[in-house]
């Protein structure tokens, strides 16, 4: 309303104002759409970081729980955040050797537990026992002959855990839920 009052005198100004006024609904619409898309992405991000996430697990280290050729896994983030992850859980871990990589392993011991492990399962029966320090966890692969885990790099800080795997989704013949498995 105010704009019209100002532009009344000059013809050119009025024309510009007119086009502006015509454009206003489109600009509004565009802004609304952008906001909607932003909200959607934010919602996705929050669900993915705080509630649950998908992960693609592959490789020989978690045989027979996870396939050699790749499985789509479903992992939840709540129990890692609350500190409820204990021995037997399959977890997603940010690799201590390469922070860009996320690996799947099984927790064998929480803080204060003593863990006995085979130093070199391929060649000898030599066993070692360690006590997991405060705030750390001991992780191992299910396939102990072909895995890089705490036997190589020692206990890892709990903060590196990214989620607890509770379900294998794909391929359909492998569909199962994964729970605690203490050997």
């Amino acid at each position: 309303m105010h704009i019209r009052g100002e532009g009344e005198g000059e013809g050119e100004g009025e024309g510009e104002m007119q086009t502006l006024r015509q454009l206003t609904p489109y600009v509004k619409e565009a802004l609304q759409q952008t906001l909607r898309v932003t909200k959607f992405f934010c919602f996705l991000h929050v669900t993915n970081t705080y509630i649950c996430t998908f992960a693609w697990g592959m490789g020989p280290s978690m045989l027979p729980t996870i396939n050699l050729y790749g499985n789509l896994l479903l992992a939840e983030r709540i129990s890692t955040r609350l500190g409820k992850v204990g021995p037997g859980d399959v977890v997603l871990v940010r690799s201590p050797e390469n922070p860009r990589q996320i690996v799947t392993k099984r927790v064998k011991g929480g803080e204060g537990d003593s863990v006995t492990y085979l130093v070199n399962p391929k060649n000898s029966d030599e066993e070692k026992t360690v006590i997991v320090p405060k705030g750390h966890v001991w992780i191992e692969g299910d396939n102990k002959y072909n895995t890089k885990d705490s036997r190589k790099f020692g206990p890892i800080p709990y903060a590196l855990l990214q989620g607890r795997v509770f379900c294998v989704l794909w391929p359909p013949e492998d569909f199962k839920s994964i729970g605690k498995d203490i050997q």
């Binding site: 909200k39 991000h45 705080y50 390469n98 705030g135 890892i156 800080p157 855990l161």
Partner: protein
Amino acid sequence: MATPNFLFGLAKKCFTVGLINLTVSDRYVSLIAIRGSSMSPTFNPHEKKSAAFFMDDYALVEKFCLEKYKFSSGDVVVFRSPSNHKQKNVKRITALPGDWVNISSSHDVVMIPEGHCWVEGDNPACSMDSRSFGPIPLGLVCGRVTHVLWPPHRVGKVDRKVTAERFSF
């Protein structure tokens, strides 16, 4: 009655703002309060222990560095404490994978393993850092401190500082 509708709208708005806020602080930038004197004189240079929250320094943390985990020595980073996953610490990276570190207390020289870094506070007198818990995995890092935002008279960039004598042995 328009009140329930109004309340519903308000709740929805709060929810949206919360979502956007959380996303931005997770992925792009966030704000943290820095407590304690382990990083003095970079942060909290005053000597007295202050209880009031407005006496702490507030700093801007950028998260873009988490895409590639590329850091250089001298960066001030926020990382989760290796002994307590709920606690975050602010320290300066002094050595990266492949570097050699001279531990002054025991005269040992340690090589930083792959994917780890060595963090130290600027105030060696009272700082819990790699000198007590060893090198930490880079995966614990959750942001790089770039600017001081509060108090007003010290607003500015946080410098990258390299202490050269660490590497000589």
